[in-house]
Each structure stands twice: as structure tokens, then as C-alpha cells.
């Protein structure tokens, strides 16, 4: 087994026992990136020199016998909407193509403090708006299980990096499914923590009341390792939660006795692949066989979730993205007047989907429409939260699908925004309710593509999610899942990007 094929936990063990150096580990991943990334294009910016430098520093500290964080020396990839000091943070947008933040996001500062070398910044849908990573202003990222398909989005780059061994861990962000949906489309584990559990300071805002940084990993245990590092109260984020952070690694051993699981009965959702439903039902049976009590649950108001989400998120986005006006940083177009400069900067700097959402949001917040759209959507959001509270009186955990279908083809939904929005339908209500939610691999589709399960728990119950995720891993012979990447050899250097 090569280093890049190992889990973060295994790398951590070997680093701590000094079987390998961080420099060796980082080099292995960098080589893997050189080999794979030209075809899949998960990274917007690669930082091999920086990664090797911090690996070297960690190695010498370890040589000196310093006590280090368990993840010290384990490299990581960071979604390119998370601010990194002196390192370009583009949000996959022309408007921030050359923006270099003068500060680290709180989570990035935590990575650095722990001594995790950063391999680079990963691709996403522009400003995290999208479900396929095709909305990147630079290039799309491809699904490693079938390069003709999308990896999902918006955290497509982070997910593909982890799925293919270009990074053992990655940070993503999830507003309405942006970690969970691509995780399920690429066969990895993605955790959206409780809203406020991980600081948003430094995460470039898309929809502030929904945005949450989370983990991408090949196993639930790796997710727990990373959560131990990034979760917690941050005085720089007023919406971060003050509650104590548990040791997410502890007590992940299986034992599902008396676990009450609610199997989500979806309302009318078009385009739900029957094999997805089958995979979810199978997962429910597995839980039942191991002692869990499974019942059905319906969240009636979730039918309105998508509509509410696509009013609230664009409304907040229309405000959050106002600052890109060309005055202080980022792309700036000329204009005869300040208004002309503003409108040309924004007209040329933003891509189509971003502009669409800014328009929707601006409309929804306008005088005369506010009550009918934004306010109504906020009321629906409250009712959705109540649906969850009610469900969690009967159940400890909700089980459903992380995506209605396996990965779809590149270009398949780019012309039809509504179809694209529907691919988040499974993820959105958890986001609106602020609940923690985990996507774990749930077997394969007949096409050979991975399918994902989604587990949702009460606020702060990330551990229960990770524990159940780990249970599913243990039911499988081979873990982590690795795509074969046959196409690399078949197509060689001729593969058309």
C-alpha cells in the first residue's frame, strides 16, 4: 500500500511512530496530484513548496521530541472559498481570481497550528453556487468513477482530491448540500456539522445563515480526527456555538442497540432513482439486523424546503456578494462613472449562475416582495425546523439518500437550473434546520457509480453520525472505496479536458 492510499488515521499512526516522515507523506501525495490532477482537475492552486516546507518543519519538531497534534504532518486540501493568508483564494470566480487574503480563516489557522501541510486550494462552483463544480469560472472537475460525469458540487474539488488519494483529508463547505452531495457522487464521507459548530470566520460567505465548513474524508474516523481539530467556539464568529467539544474519536465503536432510526419517506420528488431508494432501504435493514429500531418518518414540510432554500440562500447571497464592486480588491473594470464601474465589474466578474442568484435574491428582498418571498421562506424554515424537532422526539437518527441519483453527465443539467437545483433536494432541509448531517457511501449503482446515504442527527450529535457511518464501513469488505482510474492508462496523455 502506498502512502497516498492510506487513511489519515493510518498516516497519523505511522508519523507518530516515526515509521515515515511528513516530507515522505507529502511527497507521495504531491506525486499523486501530478499524476491524477491534470485529468480530474481538483485543484485551482497547488502549493507543493509550502506543503513540503511545513512538512519539514513538523519533521524537525518531531525529531526534537516535541509533543505534536495527532494530525501533525498529515497533509490536507482546502476548498478555495476558505481564506488562506498570503495564498490566493478565488472562490472559483473571475472576480477574485487574483485576491490574496491578508488573514487565515479560523479553521486554516487551526490546521497550521496543528502542523498539517496544505497541499492546495480545491475547485468549486463559483462562490459555492452549484451542484456539479461546472460553475467554476476556471474549469470543471471530473468524477473519478467516470470522467464523463460531474463529481457533484460545490465542494467537487475537495471530494475528488480525497476520493483519488490526492489528499487524505479535505475541508469543504456545505450550504445546501455542497459537501454531502458530491461526497455521495464520489464515494467518500462528508460531514456537515451542526450550524455554528465550526467557525465560519474566513469562509467566504455565500448564504451566512446556512454556510458551514465541514470535513471530507475516506472514513468516518478520519472525519472525527479532523473535527477534533476544527470544531469549537470562535470569538470571531458570533454565530459559533459555545458548547464544549467532545473527543469525536472516542466511543465510535459499533453498538446500535436501542438506536431509533427514522427512515425518511420522501414526498413527491421527480427523478428519484429507484436504485437509490433500494440502497437506502438496504441500509435500514442492516441497521435493524444489528439492533437498531427502524421506523418510517415523514417530514411533511420538507416538500417546501427547496423553494424556501432557493429564496433564502440567494437573498443572503445578493447581499453578501455586494462587496465585490472593484473598489478595494479583486477584479475591477473601467467605467465612466462609479455606477458604470460597479456594473461592468460585476457584469464581467461574475458567472451566469452567480448573477442568476443575485437577481433572484435582490428580487426576493425588494420592497413589496419581501413579505411574499423572503419572509414567507423564513416562516417555512421555522416550520421545517419544527418538523425535525418532532421527528427527533421519536428517533435518534434519520436515514435517507444523500442524492436522488448517482453522478450525472457533464453538461447534462447546465442548461436547466431547476434540474440542477433538484439534485440538492435530499440535503437542503437539514441545512435549513441547522442539523448535523453525514454522507457515507451506500453501495453502488448498477452503472458502477457510487451511491450515498445521508444520516441526520440532533444538533451537536456529530458523534452519533460518525459512529453510524463507521458501522456502515464495517459492513463492507473493502474500505475505503477507491475508483480504479483506468481511464488514466486507457487515454494516457490524450485525455481531453
Amino acid at each position: 500500500m502506498r502512502l497516498y492510499e492510506m487513511t489519515a488515521a493510518e498516516l497519523s499512526r505511522r508519523l507518530q511512530s516515526r515509521e515515515v516522515s511528513s516530507a515522505e507523506v507529502v511527497r507521495s501525495f504531491l506525486e499523486r496530484i501530478d499524476e491524477v490532477d491534470p485529468y480530474l482537475r481538483a485543484f485551482i492552486t497547488r502549493t507543493p513548496d509550502l506543503a513540503l516546507k511545513s512538512a519539514g518543519e513538523i519533521d524537525s519538531r518531531r525529531m526534537r521530541g516535541e509533543t505534536l497534534h495527532p494530525l501533525a504532518g498529515v497533509p490536507i486540501a482546502v476548498k478555495d472559498n476558505i481564506s488562506t493568508l498570503a495564498l490566493r483564494t478565488t472562490c472559483a470566480s473571475r472576480i477574485l481570481e487574483n485576491y490574496i487574503p491578508p488573514f487565515d480563516a479560523t479553521v486554516v489557522a487551526a490546521l497550521k497550528k496543528a502542523g498539517m501541510p496544505i497541499l492546495g486550494k480545491t475547485n468549486l462552483d463559483e462562490f459555492a453556487m452549484g451542484s456539479s463544480t461546472e460553475n467554476s469560472a476556471f474549469f470543471p472537475t471530473r468524477n473519478p468513477w467516470d470522467p464523463g460525469r460531474v463529481p457533484g458540487g460545490s465542494s467537487g474539488g475537495s471530494v475528488v482530491a480525497v476520493a483519488t488519494g490526492m489528499a487524505p483529508l479535505a475541508l469543504g463547505s456545505d450550504t445546501g448540500g455542497s459537501i454531502r452531495q458530491p461526497a455521495s457522487l464520489c464515494g467518500v464521507t462528508g460531514l456537515r456539522p451542526t450550524y455554528g459548530r465550526v467557525s465560519r470566520y474566513g469562509l467566504v460567505a455565500f448564504a451566512s445563515s446556512l454556510d458551514q465548513i465541514g470535513t471530507v474524508s475516506t472514513t468516518a474516523f478520519d472525519g472525527a480526527l479532523l473535527m477534533n481539530l476544527i470544531a469549537g467556539y470562535d470569538p470571531l464568529d458570533s454565530t459559533s456555538l459555545p458548547e464544549e467539544v467532545p473527543d469525536y474519536r472516542a466511543g465510535l465503536e459499533p453498538g446500535l442497540d436501542k438506536l431509533r432510526v427514522g427512515l425518511i419517506r420522501y414526498g413527491r420528488v421527480d427523478g428519484f432513482d429507484p436504485e437509490v431508494t433500494e440502497a437506502v432501504n438496504k441500509a435500514a435493514s442492516m441497521l435493524e439486523e444489528h439492533g437498531a429500531k427502524v421506523g418510517e418518518v415523514s417530514l411533511p414540510l420538507t416538500d417546501y424546503g427547496l423553494s424556501a432554500y432557493y429564496l433564502i440562500a440567494p437573498s443572503e447571497a445578493s447581499s453578501n456578494l455586494g462587496r465585490y464592486d472593484g473598489v478595494r480588491y479583486g477584479f475591477c473594470a473601467d467605467g465612466d462613472s462609479i455606477e458604470a464601474m460597479f456594473s461592468r465589474t460585476r457584469g464581467e466578474g461574475f458567472g451566469a449562475e452567480v448573477k442568476r442568484r443575485i437577481m433572484i435574491g435582490t428580487y426576493a428582498l425588494s420592497a413589496g416582495y419581501y413579505d411574499a418571498y423572503y419572509l414567507k421562506a423564513m416562516k417555512v424554515r421555522t416550520l421545517i425546523r419544527r418538523d425535525y424537532e418532532k421527528a427527533f422526539k421519536k428517533f435518534d437518527l434519520l436515514l435517507g439518500a444523500a442524492s436522488p441519483t448517482p453522478a450525472f453527465k457533464l453538461g447534462e443539467k447546465t442548461e436547466d437550473p431547476l434540474q440542477m437545483y433538484l439534485s440538492d433536494v435530499c440535503n437542503i432541509t437539514d441545512s435549513l434546520a441547522g442539523m448535523p448531517s453525514l454522507a457515507v457511501p451506500g453501495g453502488f449503482h448498477s452503472s458502477g457509480l457510487p451511491l450515498g446515504l445521508q444520516l441526520t442527527a440532533r444538533p451537536m450529535q456529530e458523534k452519533l453520525l460518525l459512529k453510524t457511518g463507521r458501522f456502515f464501513e464495517e459492513q463492507r469488505a473493502e474500505y475505503p472505496l477507491r475508483p480504479s482510474l483506468d481511464f488514466l492508462e486507457e487515454r494516457g496523455g490524450d485525455y481531453e479536458i
Binding site: I82, L236, D237, T239, S319, G322, R323
Partner: protein
């Protein structure tokens, strides 16, 4: 037709915090442009706001001083608009759930006291500042932006439309300033922009109960210009209305140089700010005890002080008003009064010679030690020095801060009195001025004053005038 003028004011006030509303940057005025800035107040991507507790304390204190009702649950909203001085393209403000509602201020106007009611008091963040190339916003080639000011806590106070002239608006504003200075929440400097005022003004036929179309007047940078601008607007609107025309709703700019208002934009240019609750902040929930504690520690306010000054020192209404309006002068008076409890005399000296000397020497009353004046007046009352000497000593005291008592001792300025010391001087003057002596003997009283003057000149004004008179009369 006679018209009734209706004016409502919107006042913005920079609160006296050391750091900004949502970050730790300094609020110091006059620094090098764009040096008091950080990712938060520059609105860099990914930055988030965190409340400054001190700003909330000061806002609550101000609202309490204005008799406003504090709302224990309030909320912050985003006011969205594009402007280069607004780093996030939204201002964090309070919209439908402000910090405080209602309130009032008792204002002394020509016809006695009037209560001007307030609509609301809320907290928001300050924008940056555009520095226009050229003279003003109109016809500027380009502008530079200074974000030092961006994010300073700003209190917005909105009055009811209850003022009826430029003069009333000015009086209200001056009183408001005094109250807020006493409350210690702001330095209220209109010239530096820490106190700003916009006005809505409309006219209606006397007796009508329907409000006329209003104009919003901005850019009034002093109390005087508030009065001038509003008086100008009254005349302008009056002319329009009596000419049969109608006032157009607009925002106008007070042009200080040409003393007129200029239309900045019409109603069609008014913005839809798309307010919505700020998702990066939690609602502001105040504990009752927090508000009560601030209420208890509220400093004495001007109206209370005026009453107390009148009672405690037996001052007249106008006297108490002077010492209240000029807070530092009042403080000076009260400190001096402790050491020199002859209040009416003290007030006369403070109001007269002291203020005169402060003006002459361009000094602030805070620079003067009140005990020195008290000591000086004691010397005078004891008869140790003469009045002209006292006046000279006061001037020197203001200039250099020297102690009058020491000056008297060092320079030997005490009054010369007693027969033994004065008699030789009297005899010498009589001997040297036979003509004046003769004149006095013939009944010319003026001649005596001449002789007194001679002795005074010889003693540099130190001779005891009463005794001198007596001795001269006796000897002639």
C-alpha cells in the same frame, strides 16, 4: 397664505468607544488614511462582525439620557446599497426592531420650554469617508476612500416632525448635544463629523393637518448652518407654494459657500435598501439588570444640573444655564465654590474677568486650577490686595498658571495700609503738589482724586484707598 413649517431631524452620533463596533480597530480621529483598518471593517471576504460591548453600553446610556424606552430584544439588519465608502455594500443597522423607541428632550425655546419627542434610537455602523478631488461631491474628477471611519459605532436618533423653524431645530440640536456630552457617550463635534444632522422639512397651510411634501436636507456641518439651511429651505418652499407650484420630494445638499440648498437627487433616485435581518449576528438581548445598572450610573444631566446649581448656589436661571451649557465652566465654578463659598461674587468673576481672560489668551477653562481663583478672591476679600491688582493677577494666572498668593508674596503686592506707612507718602504728595492742594482747599473735589492717584501711582496701586482718602483730608 401663512404656512406652518414642519421639521424632523435625523441625528447621527459617533459613540466614544476606543475600538470600532465590530472589530478591535482604533476609532482615533485624524490618523493617516486607511491605517485603522482590518479585514472586518474593510469587509474582506470571510470576515465576520462581533459586538463591541462598550458600544452597546454607550448606546443604552444615550437612550436612557433621552428618556427613550430600551427594548431588551432588538435586532440588527442589513441596509443594502452600493457606494464606494461602504465596504460590504451593506450597512449593519437596525430597522424594525431598534434598540430604543420614543423618548423626548425638553428644549428651551423663545416661548418657554417645549418637549420635542423622539421616534427611535438605534445603533449602526459608520461608513468610510470619500475624499473628493476638487471642492465638493459635485463635479469631482475622482475620489479617494478612507476607511478609518468605517465601522465606528454610530447612534441614530430620529425626532418626531415637531419643530417649526430653523431656530428651533438649532436649539434642539444644541440641547441634544449638551445632554449627550453630559451622558459621556460622544464628543459631539460637528466639525469633525462625530455629530451630524439631516433634516426633513415641509410646509403646510396653517391649520391643515396633512403633511406637505418634504425635502431632505443634508450636509449641514455646524449648528449655524442647520439654522441657515432650514431657513433657506422654508423661504424656497414658501416661494414655490405661494407661486401656485408644488414642492417636489427631493434630497438636497446645503452649499455652505453660497448659502443655498442644491438638489442632489429626486424621489425616483431614492433607494430600496432591501433590509433583512443580519445573519452574521444574533439578536441583541439585554438583561434587565444591565439596563438598570447603566441607568443608575447615568451621570447628572443638564436639566438636573441647572436645577441643582440654582438651589445650591442661589444662581439665577440664566446664570445656571451658562454654567450648564458650558459644562467645563460649570465644573470650574463648582470646584472653586468649594474653596470660596461667596457664590455670587465667584460667579461674577467667572462670567466676567475669567471668561474674558480665557478668550484673550486662547485658553480652555480646563487648563485653569479653580483653587487659584478661589485663593485670589480670598486675598481680595481679606483686603490683602486691591481690586486692580487682583485683575492683573488673574490675567497672569490665566496666562502662566502662576499662583496669585505666591505672586503677591514674591513681588510684595500686598496692600499698603496703616497710618505709619501711609503718612510719609501723603506728606510727600502734599509737598510736591501745592497747586492741587490749594485747589482742594478751594472746594474742588477733583483735586483730591488727583492726589490719591499720585499716591497710587507711587505705590503701584497698592495703597489702601479708604485710609488714603482719610489721611489726605486730615492733612490738607
Amino acid at each position: 397664505m401663512k404656512y406652518e413649517v414642519i421639521i424632523g431631524l435625523e441625528i447621527h452620533l459617533e459613540l466614544l468607544t476606543a475600538s470600532k463596533l465590530f472589530c478591535g480597530c482604533s476609532t482615533a480621529f485624524g490618523r493617516e488614511p486607511n491605517t485603522n483598518c482590518c479585514p472586518v471593517c474593510l469587509g474582506l471576504p470571510g470576515s465576520l462582525p462581533v459586538f463591541n460591548r462598550r458600544a452597546i453600553e454607550l448606546a443604552v446610556t444615550a437612550a436612557l439620557a433621552l428618556n427613550s424606552e430600551i427594548r431588551l430584544w432588538s435586532r440588527f439588519d442589513r441596509k443594502n446599497y452600493f457606494y464606494p465608502d461602504l465596504p460590504k455594500a451593506y450597512q449593519v443597522s437596525q430597522y424594525d426592531q431598534p434598540l430604543a423607541r420614543g423618548g423626548y428632550l425638553e428644549v428651551d425655546v423663545a416661548v418657554g420650554k417645549r418637549r420635542i419627542n423622539l421616534e427611535r434610537v438605534h445603533l449602526e455602523e459608520e461608513a468610510g469617508k470619500l475624499v473628493h478631488a476638487g471642492h465638493s461631491i459635485i463635479g469631482s474628477g475622482y475620489s479617494l476612500v478612507d476607511y478609518n471611519r468605517a465601522g465606528i459605532p454610530l447612534l441614530e436618533i430620529v425626532t418626531a416632525p415637531e419643530m417649526h423653524s430653523g431656530r428651533e431645530a438649532r436649539l434642539f440640536l444644541e440641547d441634544l448635544r449638551t445632554v449627550l456630552l453630559y451622558a459621556g457617550v460622544s464628543d459631539c463635534k460637528m466639525e469633525e463629523g462625530s455629530l451630524r444632522c439631516d433634516a426633513n422639512i415641509s410646509l403646510r397651510p396653517e391649520g391643515s393637518s396633512i403633511l406637505g411634501t418634504k425635502a431632505e436636507v443634508k450636509n449641514m456641518n455646524s449648528f449655524r448652518s442647520v439654522e441657515l439651511a432650514l431657513d433657506y429651505e422654508v423661504q424656497r418652499q414658501e416661494k414655490v407654494l405661494s407661486g401656485g407650484g408644488s414642492v417636489v420630494q427631493e434630497t438636497c445638499h446645503w452649499d455652505e459657500e453660497n448659502k443655498q440648498t442644491i438638489t442632489l437627487r429626486g424621489k425616483e433616485g431614492s433607494s430600496d435598501y432591501r433590509y433583512f435581518p443580519e445573519p452574521d449576528l444574533l439578536p441583541l438581548v439585554l438583561e434587565n439588570t444591565f439596563v438598570e445598572d447603566l441607568g443608575r450610573s447615568l451621570p447628572e444631566l443638564p436639566s438636573e444640573r441647572r436645577e441643582r446649581l440654582r438651589e445650591q448656589y442661589g444662581l439665577e436661571k440664566e446664570e445656571a444655564f451658562l454654567l450648564t451649557a458650558n459644562r467645563e465652566l460649570g465644573d470650574f465654578f463648582e470646584k472653586a465654590a468649594k474653596a470660596y463659598p461667596v457664590y455670587d461674587n465667584l460667579f461674577n468673576w467667572v462670567q466676567g474677568d475669567l471668561l474674558y481672560q480665557l478668550r484673550e489668551n486662547d485658553k480652555k477653562v480646563e487648563e485653569i486650577d479653580p483653587n487659584l481663583l478661589a485663593g485670589l478672591l480670598q486675598l481680595l476679600d481679606e483686603g490683602s490686595i486691591n481690586r486692580p491688582v487682583a485683575k492683573e493677577l488673574l490675567a497672569e494666572m490665566v496666562q502662566s498658571g502662576a499662583d496669585p498668593k505666591e505672586m503677591v508674596r514674591e513681588r510684595g503686592l500686598e496692600r499698603i495700609s496703616g497710618r505709619d506707612r501711609l503718612l510719609p507718602l501723603v506728606e510727600q504728595v502734599i509737598a510736591e503738589n501745592p497747586e492741587a492742594v490749594e485747589n482742594y482747599r478751594q472746594g474742588k473735589n477733583k483735586a483730591l482724586a488727583f492726589l490719591v492717584g499720585k499716591v497710587m501711582a507711587a505705590t503701584k496701586g497698592r495703597a489702601d484707598p479708604a485710609e488714603l482718602n482719610r489721611l489726605l483730608k486730615e492733612k490738607i
